[in-house]
Amino acid sequence: MSQVLKTDAITMQFGGLTAVDSLSLEINQNDLIGIIGPNGAGKTTAFNMITGHYLPTKGNVFLNNEKINGVRPAVITQKGIARTFQNIRLFKDLTVLDNIRIAAHSRCEYGFFDSIFRTKKFKDYERKIEEEAISLLSIFKMQGYSDHLAKNLPYGMQRRLEIARAMATKPSLLLLDEPAAGMNPNETIELTKLIRWIRDEFKLAILLIEHDMRLVMEVCEKIYVLDYGKTIAVGTPSEIQNNPKVIEAYLGSEGVENE
Amino acid sequence: MLNYPFLGVLLASLLFFSCNKEEAATRKTNSSDQPAATTKAKSDDVIRVGAVFAMTGPIATYGQESVNGINLALKKINAESIKGKRIELIVEDNKGEPAESANAVRKLIDIDKVDVILGAVASSNTLAGAPIAQNQKVPLITPASTNEKVTQTGDFISRTCFTDNFQGVVMAKFAASTLQKKNAAIIIDNASDYSKGLASVFKDEFKKLGGTIIDQNFTYTQKDTDFRSLLRRVKRANPDVIFLPGYYTEVGLMLKQAKQMGINTPFLGGDGWDSPKLQELAGPEGVKGNYISSHFSADDKDEKVQAFVKDYVDNFGAKPGAMAALGHDGMLVLADALKRAENFNAESIKMAINSTKGFVGVTGSITIDENRNARKSAVVLETKPSGMSFKQKVSP
């Protein structure tokens, strides 16, 4: 299987604080990988380095064997990494459909003047995008909501829309930042299914950060555990569950999370 | 969302409308020989005069003073009638801004149907309104805009004050003949057309009269507050007279600093100095022994002037400045022209204004020349701690 992402001991320092210390990830196609760790362990910082929002202090990030650190986030997205955010960042005042269409814009085939003069090329492509968007919405069980404003959707649906929007960029690697945060158990179970289904349907790799242990253990095939920026364990869910270091990090500091 | 047939209809109707308007405009100019009597039936006994001045905004002082002067003149004029008619004054505020001046002029012409317009003070304001008055063939008299360009707009635009150039000539003559000076330095306010204009005329005239001009760039800009380094350079160049055509705010500070630095050479200036503020800013030491050219002096012993000063003080409780006198004379010149005009249509009013000869106002005898500028005398004033005192009258 081909390698999608590789991080080569990436390190992020803010002033004197080392938020992430030599994190080395390897993600292959169809992998479903989790990063867990207590609050402040550096999970989101790792995401921000991968997606180009932060430039790693040390180390390199490779996407499909191409070095991408120092590349702007938008370009990285165009190269195939899409993400969601811990605190939902939808385009709140826009419709669900527009949210999806904006994500598809980086693949836009018509030029600026096509859009002003409404050429045939423009119309054809707009139609194609709209159809794609609607089918994507129906995959995420949001058909019929396309004209709603994003801010008016119920919370769980906003989370789903964020994932759908990320999928509209046609990524080869999807990063999910605490997708289950704030969801009730039923919604979480559905989400678990959805994540697995996305991976199978779109044949992509998924990397997720999660606090909800049940979800991580159930869905991930490989888990990285971070604590104070350091990688303290890597392995399958069962290996991680029995790893004494992990137990110490969790039980020792804040106990098993049970949200 | 928008829909194109609708926009198309809108555009087409606008096209239609605007073509009609052009036609209407042509018709209007064709029939301009007849007074637009049909549109103002009720006011047969009234001549409407519009006044565009800064009643608010940064130069409101000038505007308000001008309007005071105009009102004073108006009182006298309306005491008797002009061929059975009375003058009605409509004042519009231009906030001291060019765009607002244009709005005000249009409003006066179209809504109030004024026969003549008086205004404005700042040349840039008058320049914004003048093309409109010219296009619509409404005579416009500016009582106080001294920039050369103003009256070049067209034959309907005239002024009752002298131009910038004239002041340069007056002060050059004064420096060379009266003061017997030979070596002049010129300090220019870089942000002002007025200053540059006066300076260049002074330079030419002073050289013509046998003087020399120190060949150095002495410049400052409005809102500067410290001129010591500039003055040090001037002092080292050792002139026997300094020409400083600027506005009183900077001039005041500069005079004060010059005195502190021991510069005792006389400074000469133009009407930009003419404000009671000058004494306050420069201090008693600073103002002493300098001369300016201006339009008017409240100290002028002339009977007419003294009557005006008394009248003004009675009405407004303060001594009139140059703007009040200029506004006053502008109105009187207009009334005089209206008396001489064959009838009250724009063309004959314009002719009458432009043929004004030797009209004696409080700012001197006014003759409108072929360029529609006033040929009139200027006064040279000596600046003293107590105020400006009359020195001499210089005729063109």
């Binding site: 814009h105 002003i116 | 308007k21 179209d110 920039n147």
Partner: protein, 289 residues
């Protein structure tokens, strides 16, 4: 009635200005306070073209060329200013654009060839009601088409959430610059029309206060709404003039009344008259699926 025709033209000119700023501020979410600067660039370029070249062409062709030049130079000015400034955010961007707006004005103040502080005179009267509204309609179509296509949506996404937009593959800097340049260009276009309507321009026409008034227009109408920008432009152009017509007492106090009305309007409708809504003409339009 020339006065009202003239005011109608002024409304049109301010509509274009407001739509341009709406693109920058309302749609792209970039707080610009330098719009009057671009207006000045267009006005001076257009006027300089028609005065100095003096081509033996029909007036409207000269006007069209001037408009094109005004648009392009103002857009280039927008590019020059936008590239360094658009990295700044919020109030910092506002103050930097304000600074550039003033710098542009001061440069014209120091250019003797275009009249310096006295102003630029003798500009031919080439613009009329038709041409002003021709460009207004063109601008409306332009803006409406822009926001209904991918480029417009990309621009709007920056207003909504710049970080999310970047993460969705939108090169935010590029689109910010695009919106900024077009907005500046539209201001330039309005400048050309303005110069050829009033026949006289001076640096004092383009002070910081005007940037603020144009901003007022779009906020009053409803930030982000094209029809709002248009309504705002009409209200703020006509209001001070209508107050003139209510007799001398009102006229004396008109600026005071104007400011009180402004405050009251904001207190009554804080999101502007239209909010983000558009007034649309629904006849003949296919319903969206």
């Amino acid at each position: 009635m020339d006065y009202f025709l003239y005011l109608t033209q002024m409304c049109g000119i301010f509509m274009i200005l407001a739509m341009g700023l709406n693109l920058i501020n309302g749609l792209c979410g970039q707080f610009s306070l330098g719009h009057a600067g671009f207006w000045a660039v267009g006005a001076y370029t257009g006027a300089a073209f028609s005065v100095f070249t003096n081509l033996p062409l029909p007036g409207f062709i000269i006007l069209l060329i001037a408009c094109l030049l005004g648009f392009i130079t103002a857009a280039i000015a927008g590019l020059i200013i936008g590239i360094p400034c658009l990295r700044l955010r919020g109030d910092y961007l506002a103050i930097a654009t304000l600074g550039f707006g003033e710098i542009i004005r001061i440069i014209f103040m120091n250019m003797d060839s275009v009249g310096g502080p006295r102003g630029f005179t003798d500009i031919p009267k080439l613009s009329n009601l038709f041409w002003v509204y021709f460009f207004v309609v063109l601008s409306i179509i332009f803006c409406a088409n822009l926001i209904r296509g991918g480029y417009g949506r990309a621009i709007i996404s920056i207003r909504e959430d710049e970080i999310a937009a970047e993460s969705m593959g939108i090169q935010t800097f590029k689109y910010k610059t695009l919106a900024f340049c077009i907005g500046a260009g539209m201001a330039g276009l309005a400048g050309v029309l303005f110069a050829h309507t009033t026949q006289f321009i001076s640096p004092n026409n383009f002070t910081f206060m005007w940037s603020v008034i144009i901003l007022l227009m779009i906020i009053l109408g409803g930030l982000g709404s094209i029809s709002g920008a248009i309504i705002g432009a009409v209200i703020l152009t006509l209001l001070p003039e209508l107050l003139r017509l209510l007799g001398p007492t009102v006229s004396e106090w008109r600026m005071v009344i104007y400011s009180v009305l402004l405050i009251l309007l904001m207190l009554a409708k804080p999101t502007g008259i239209l909010g983000k809504k558009e007034i649309t003409f629904s006849f003949g339009k296919k319903e969206k699926a």
